[in-house]
């Protein structure tokens, strides 16, 4: 067997074991919980092994290594061939390893966390299914295959968020996540079809004919269509999909709600892997984005806005997982920002680093609430550092990595690289300053969380009686903590090994680069900012203070501003006033028209009203939180109005038919 063949065998082996495990678990009786967990873990371990093999091969391959295996899905006639393909290069190999590794740890954690759930077998089935889809997404060399896996990832996420469907909030959150991300997927779908029209293929790399290769890209960037090039239009459409999956500002509303799912799900899907799929898509299709400066600017600004808004809102949240969720939103914003300003390597590295420490934080949060009786409000915790020392230590490492504590954490260096890229962006200094502000806020809200949870005195009964979690839960924490520290060595300015891997070239070890004039001021500045954030948090939340339980001292200091943040910028309220009203009124309008005006105009007007309200619904959903559900209700009410219009008498139906016929003929005459 040749080396390439072995490589692709390994590549194919990555998503297959979890898929097989999911298929087996689907038909497994519900009482076999232990074997189910074992099957899932073994399958995931196989995937991890295969990923490791692939990564080793990529590293050994060196400079710009890329192997592509395309095969024909099917063929129609002589010329129409529908190909799919697998791909391995330095962009996806590290992510593959990360996904399968975090997946494995989360699977192990789940055995302890979900062991008592009567539907644990189903849970492992869904988890394996998710893992298979996510890994398939990563190895795809065809936008079509990527999209198929993309949708399956969405489906798996829906099933997992809504796993405890008895909780109405969980069911709602699941539906919201599915539908909001699918609206993003529409953009991706449309972009994909458009790309197909322009290029005639959806393969990324195909010996010079793929969509990411110069021949096609040149064509895309050339033609001007309605004020923008086809490359811009397609890249923006793809970005809508990426923004939906990665919770960027217009579409971020589903992510915090998704925390209704079981904690391992939050860690795996909504911190480490699925939400990174959008970032990965942009990184994967980066040549296409590079062909359009406009698209890159949009990516940068959306990323910057997301980074700042996510951090702002996280400051005033009380629920431990919700803080982390908004922090995820914010960090995803950092990654997008980095992609937009031309630092795809930094984005990719931040993606990897973030995956480890955010998974650690989520699992740690799960351990914390597990330890103190499913308490979730950080203001009702406190002093847990003594009672849960192992969790405390691991969580502290994760927090420092996220907050960007200097030198010994991967998060510090990845953020440093992003800031560096933003500073060098020639288009606008805006994103750079926004990123600095977000860095400060990140340090602040993470310190706040640490202080509230682990320091001071216990502020509730449950917190006072907290206990350390079982070994099976803490072991993954320790491993993840180690992983949050270790990768730092490969991506410092002193030894840019990772950049060399992705970009090609040789990494030279040179400590002196840290002191280069274009590096050290930023380094020092960001350390100062982090220090300021931590100091401010200490000043407000220092352990010695005595406050009533359940009250946030920040509330008194910020006054009205705090409420605005705590209410997630009042987006719900605004939403209620605008979209929901509009929906309700257009529904009423449709009903009134039905009642008072006779004739085919009814159906038409109602349809138009519905159309507008549906459009309004889509438009205003951007930036608006769980008013989404109200929006759905409004949509339904409008639908009822429309439906009434149809329940008319026979004569009404026949007249509508006549009106339709006349309308068609008049349209003909008008043309």
């Amino acid at each position: 067997m040749t080396e390439t063949a072995t490589l692709f065998l390994a590549l194919a082996l990555i998503p297959l074991p979890p898929l097989a495990a999911a298929a087996v678990l689907l038909f497994m009786p519900g009482r076999l919980r232990r074997p189910a967990g074992a099957i899932a873990v073994v399958a995931q371990a196989l995937a991890l092994f295969a990923s490791g093999t692939v990564l080793v091969r990529v590293v050994a391959g060196g400079d710009g290594f890329r192997e592509v295996l395309n095969f024909t899905w099917f063929q129609l006639g002589a010329e129409t061939v529908v190909p799919l393909g697998l791909l391995v290069d330095a962009t996806n190999a590290p992510v593959l390893l990360m996904v399968s590794l975090v997946g494995l740890l989360v699977f192990i954690y789940s055995i302890a966390y979900m062991g008592g759930d009567p539907r644990a077998v189903r849970f492992f089935c869904f988890l394996s299914f998710f893992s298979a889809a996510m890994l398939g997404l990563l190895v795809a060399n065809s936008l079509l295959l990527l999209f198929i896996c993309w949708e399956l990832v969405g489906l798996a996420s829906y099933l997992l968020i809504g796993f405890w469907f008895q909780k109405p909030a969980a069911a709602r959150a699941a539906r919201k996540a599915f539908i909001v991300t699918r609206i993003g997927d529409l953009g991706l779908f449309l972009g994909m079809i458009w790309l197909y029209r322009e290029a005639g293929t959806l393969l990324f790399y195909d010996g010079g004919a793929g969509v990411l290769e110069t021949a096609v890209l040149g064509g895309l960037a050339a033609g001007a269509a309605g004020g923008m090039t086809a490359a811009t239009a397609i890249a923006l459409l793809l970005f809508i999909g990426a923004a939906g999956k990665s919770g960027q500002v217009p579409f971020h509303v589903w992510l915090p709600d998704a925390m209704e799912g079981p904690t391992p799900v939050s860690a795996l899907i909504h911190a480490a892997t699925m939400v990174a799929a959008g970032v990965f898509l942009v990184a994967r299709a980066y040549p296409l984005f590079e062909a359009s400066a406009t698209a890159l600017s949009v990516v940068a600004w959306v990323g910057a806005a997301t980074a700042l808004l996510g951090a702002c809102i996280a400051v005033a949240q009380r629920e431990i997982k919700r803080i982390l969720a908004y922090s995820t939103v914010s960090q995803l914003g950092f990654m997008m920002l980095s992609l937009g300003v031309g630092g795809p390597v930094a984005a990719l590295f931040h993606l990897l680093a973030h995956a480890f420490f955010k998974a650690l934080l989520f699992l740690g949060a799960g351990s914390v609430s597990h330890g103190c009786g499913e308490e979730k409000d950080v203001l009702r915790m406190g002093g847990l550092g003594r009672r849960m020392p192992l969790t405390f230590a691991c969580y502290g490492i994760g927090m420092m990595a996220l907050a960007g504590f200097p030198f010994f954490f991967s998060g510090f260096w990845s953020k440093e690289a992003i800031l560096h890229a933003a500073q060098a962006w020639p288009v606008s200094p805006g994103p750079f300053w926004i990123a600095l502000a977000a860095t400060f806020l990140t340090a602040f809200y993470m310190s706040r969380q640490m202080l509230l949870v682990f320091f001071g005195r216990a502020r509730s009964e449950a917190a006072a009686q907290a206990h350390e979690s079982p070994r099976l839960m803490t072991a993954p924490l320790v491993i993840l903590a180690a992983l949050s520290v270790l990768p730092l060595v490969v991506a410092t300015p002193a030894w840019p090994w990772f950049e060399a891997l992705v970009r090609g070239g040789e990494a030279q070890w040179a400590l002196s680069r840290l002191l280069a004039p274009e590096v050290w001021p930023l380094l020092a500045g960001s350390i100062l900012l982090v220090g300021a954030g931590v100091g401010l948090a200490w000043w407000i939340y220092h352990p010695g203070r005595r406050e009533a339980a359940g009250r946030d001292p920040l509330e008194d200091r910020l006054g009205a501003g705090h409420r605005v943040l705590a209410e997630e910028l009042y987006w719900d309220r605004t939403y209620d006033f605008t979209v929901v009203r509009a929906c309700r009124w257009s529904g009423r309008l449709a009903a009134a028209l039905d009642r008072w005006i006779w004739g085919g105009a009814v159906a038409l007007a109602a349809a138009l009203a519905r159309l507008f309200s549906a459009l309004a619904d889509r438009l205003d959903r951007r930036g608006l939180n769980h008013g989404f559900d109200l929006g759905c209700a409004g949509l339904r009410a409008g639908g009822i109005g429309l439906h009434r219009a149809h329940r008319g008498q026979l004569h009404f139906l026949l007249t509508t038919l006549g009106v339709g016929a006349v309308g068609l003929l008049l349209l003909l005459a008008w043309l």
Binding site: I179, F189, L220, H643, H646, L667
Partner: protein, 496 residues
């Protein structure tokens, strides 16, 4: 002309007709009273014979100025229609009894076969006269089927509405045909195409096409000619509704695509944004847009699952017509492919709805609660069907939609904004809406607990078999779309 040759080309139709006559005879003799099994056996045997006649019959032929056309495409679609009808019969005539109307099974099956005969004729002709008579045969049989199984009040009312709506639409169709005949001097689609290519077009031709579109719009339930559909789907007995939703609709799309593209490809016009030009394309584009919006939004408000399926079917008509606007070979392939898989998916969905209806006496959303536990096979197939309709990969509905929309965008010069982008964007938006109401059904099926006093929903063995076949078709075609696309492509190559 040689009668023997003629007979050899219409053997499938003859098999269906003879079976129908045998069933009528059985009905007169009271044969169905003894047991519906005999009726079902005769029906299945007749359909099997017809299928064999399609497979082993002549491969091509064009007789009597296009009245009888046999080619790969018509054979493929005749086979599809026969298979869908067989599925309808097995699924929805459990034990041969149709909805409590004992003793009517034979006549009911006969009407089903006669409606099928009409559709077979429609599929296998390129002649407007035979097209009209075939459509009328199918329509009349369907009006009667709606009321036949249980001539109680509500189906009777629905049948009357269906009848009036259909008759007015048929009158429009005939009136349109008369103008087409007047403008071209022929009723043979091939000749019409030739005449149109050679002569300047006068206003009465688009007039005729526009009027005919009313009739076709009725057949495929496109807005604003759709108002009959929700009532009929809801009130008709399950076999009739299933047949109307699957086989009848497949034939409808087949004939719309064939007539418009084959006969009137020359006068297509343009529906590109900002560049509308006279022809049938802008008309179809408007029908498509209205159907998508109205169908999908109205489906949101439904409580009855069959009504919901009716509106979702209206929405799907919009999706399918979207691709038709592009009017090239790719578009026809996408339209035909999607109509087939739509037929399979809606047969499955209606089949399960029929099972629930029989067991629980109603088909509101609440009645589907807990189906996932009481009848897992039916629930699984319902999930596959609905998710396929929603276009979720890797089910075949996803690939079907990809093809539809890719075909719609395929026109125009590369590098410019595709002319039909507006329509496709609308379609995508509406397909996101559709996911919402499909999930509502599935939520009931899998996540709501079954009411304690509910009668258990049982699958009949034939029903389970059809379920499994439909489900595996949806999955298999999703993984290997070429199973249908390949023969379709080969058949279309002959046509274009």
């Amino acid at each position: 002309m040689n009668y023997l040759e003629l007979i050899s080309h219409v053997l499938p139709e003859i098999a269906v007709l003879v079976t129908a006559l045998v069933l009528i005879g059985m009905g007169c003799a009271g044969g169905s009273r003894g047991g519906g099994k005999a009726v079902l056996a005769v029906t299945a045997a007749g359909l099997g014979l017809a299928l064999a006649a399609v497979v082993f019959g002549p491969e091509s032929g064009r007789l009597l100025e296009g009245m009888i056309v046999v080619d790969a495409l018509t054979r493929l679609f005749k086979a599809v229609l026969l298979a869908l009808t067989l599925g309808t019969a097995l699924f929805l005539f459990p034990g041969g009894e149709a909805g409590g109307n004992e003793g009517r099974g034979a006549e009911n099956s006969a009407l089903l076969l006669l409606a099928l005969l009409g559709l077979l004729v429609v599929v296998g002709t390129e002649n407007l006269l035979l097209l009209f008579v075939g459509l009328e045969l199918a329509s009349l049989a369907l009006y009667l089927m709606v009321v036949f199984a249980a001539p109680a009040g509500r189906p009777a009312e629905a049948a009357l509405r269906y009848f009036f709506f259909g008759s007015v639409a048929a009158a429009f169709l005939l009136f349109g045909f008369s103008f087409i005949y007047g403008a071209t001097g022929s009723i043979d689609l091939r000749v019409i195409a030739k005449v149109l290519a050679a002569h300047p077009v006068e206003p009465i031709l688009p007039l005729g096409v526009g009027l005919a579109l009313v009739g076709f719009g009725f057949k495929v339930a496109a807005v604003p000619f759709h108002l009959w559909a929700p009532d009929v789907y809801q009130s008709a007995p399950a076999p009739a509704a299933g047949f109307i939703a699957s086989a009848s609709k497949v034939a409808g799309f087949f004939i719309v695509a064939k007539v418009l593209v084959l006969g009137f490809g020359v006068v297509e016009g343009s529906a590109d944004w900002g560049a509308f030009a006279m022809g049938w394309a802008p008309l179809v584009a408007v029908l498509a847009a209205l159907s998508m919006v109205v169908g999908n939004l109205a489906a949101l408000a439904q409580q009855s699952v069959r009504r919901l399926l009716a509106y979702s079917g209206i929405g799907h008509s919009g999706f399918i017509l979207t691709a038709l606007v592009a009017a090239n070979a790719e578009a026809v392939r996408a339209v035909l492919f999607y109509s087939v898989i739509y037929g399979v998916a809606s047969l499955a969905a209606f089949g399960v709805a029929g099972c629930v209806l029989r067991a629980r006496g109603a088909d509101r959303l609440e009645d589907f609660a807990g189906l996932g536990r009481t009848a897992p096979a039916a629930a699984g197939v319902l999930a596959l069907a609905l998710l396929s309709l929603a276009g979720l990969p890797p089910l075949v509905g996803f690939f079907g939609k990809f093809q539809l929309f890719a075909a719609a965008l395929s026109g125009g010069t590369p590098g410019t904004v595709p002319g039909l982008l507006w329509l496709v964007a609308l379609a995508l938006l509406m397909s996101a809406v559709s996911l919402y109401y499909y999930l509502r059904v599935l939520k009931q099926v899998f996540f709501a607990p079954a009411p304690a006093d509910a009668a258990p929903t049982r699958d009949t063995s034939a029903g389970t078999a059809v379920c499994l076949v439909c489900g595996s078709v949806l999955v298999l075609l999703g993984l290997f779309p070429s199973l249908v696309l390949q023969p379709l492509q080969r058949a279309l190559v002959q046509l274009f």
